[in-house]
Point group: C2
Chain length 182, copies 2
């Protein structure tokens, strides 16, 4: 038995996610990844095309996890509460997985499939539609996502440093935004 290692693509992706999660994307090198898995660097290329393709797989896994959080929000809540719960779930997820979250939304190369994204925001769009009506649903949806994503990005990059209760400000901003559409 000359080469007993027998590595799998899933293993590679999982380990890559773990390394990114702890120290950021820059901490992920194929050399370190291979060493952690107990194989040599070139062996990885039997399972992944290159580093970009690996990152694309990482981002797909991230979006599926976030999507699952959206889908698990109590579906028979009033539209406004359900919407608030979804938007809050995104922020909670981002704070629990800061490096992973930012990687998924800021790398233009590793963009996932469009259909997945549309499917992902489906629960969001439905709740928004109930509140603002179908005419302005897309604009209102884009603004809501922008508000949530922008707040998260500013927080994760330490750009909101003037004290106060950031969670309270987040809630207040969302409530104001939705009030404005009513």
């Amino acid at each position: 038995m000359p080469y007993p290692s027998q590595i799998s693509r899933e293993e590679i992706i999982t380990t890559a996610i773990a390394q990114i999660a702890t120290n950021g994307v820059h901490a992920l090198s194929l050399g370190r990844l291979a060493k952690t898995l107990g194989v040599s660097t070139p062996s990885l290329y039997r399972h992944i095309a290159n580093k970009d393709e690996l990152l694309r797989a990482v981002n797909l896994a991230t979006l599926e996890r976030l999507f699952a959080k959206f889908a698990s929000v109590e579906s028979d809540l009033p539209a406004r509460e359900k919407l608030a719960a979804i938007l809050n779930a995104q922020r909670v997820f981002a704070h629990a997985n800061p490096h992973i979250y930012q990687l998924a939304f800021t790398t233009p190369n590793n963009r996932p499939d469009e259909n997945l994204l549309v499917q992902m925001v489906q629960p969001l769009q439905e709740s928004i539609g109930e509140i603002v009506g179908t005419t302005h649903a897309l604009a209102a949806l884009r603004g809501a996502i922008a508000l949530v994503h922008g707040f998260i990005m500013l927080e994760l990059n330490d750009q909101l440093r003037r004290g106060g209760d950031l969670s309270a400000d987040f809630q207040a901003a969302i409530e104001a935004y939705l009030r404005g559409w009513s």
Copy 2:
């Protein structure tokens, strides 16, 4: 005249900005930068401490340029129009300088001085205060910046791909947000 090159720190920063602006941060290497300037790589270290310090200088220049755009907005406009003009100026700047803009707001290492940022958003904060009152000024300011920054980030990373008029949606979202605070 053995060493006629006579390079300056300003030249280095300006050239670095140009290289980042055309092809992104990843396109900036000190080797290429030195070659463009007609000197060897180690020569750069006489003017900059390292690459991170250079990027910090680049980001400072970016924020000063953006700050200038804010300050040049007609100051005797009604608060609401002035605020809309400032927020729109940020989006225009970001689209004109996508790589530079994202670098300035997404790298945790190269964060600029806090005082500068506070000073930068001064015109913004004043307009917001006039509209929503001083009690909620900070929360409203954070939400406004989050909405604008988030929309920009989603646009620049090609995450808003379902057609429609993105500029119109941007304006509508901001108007709704401000309405909600009134």
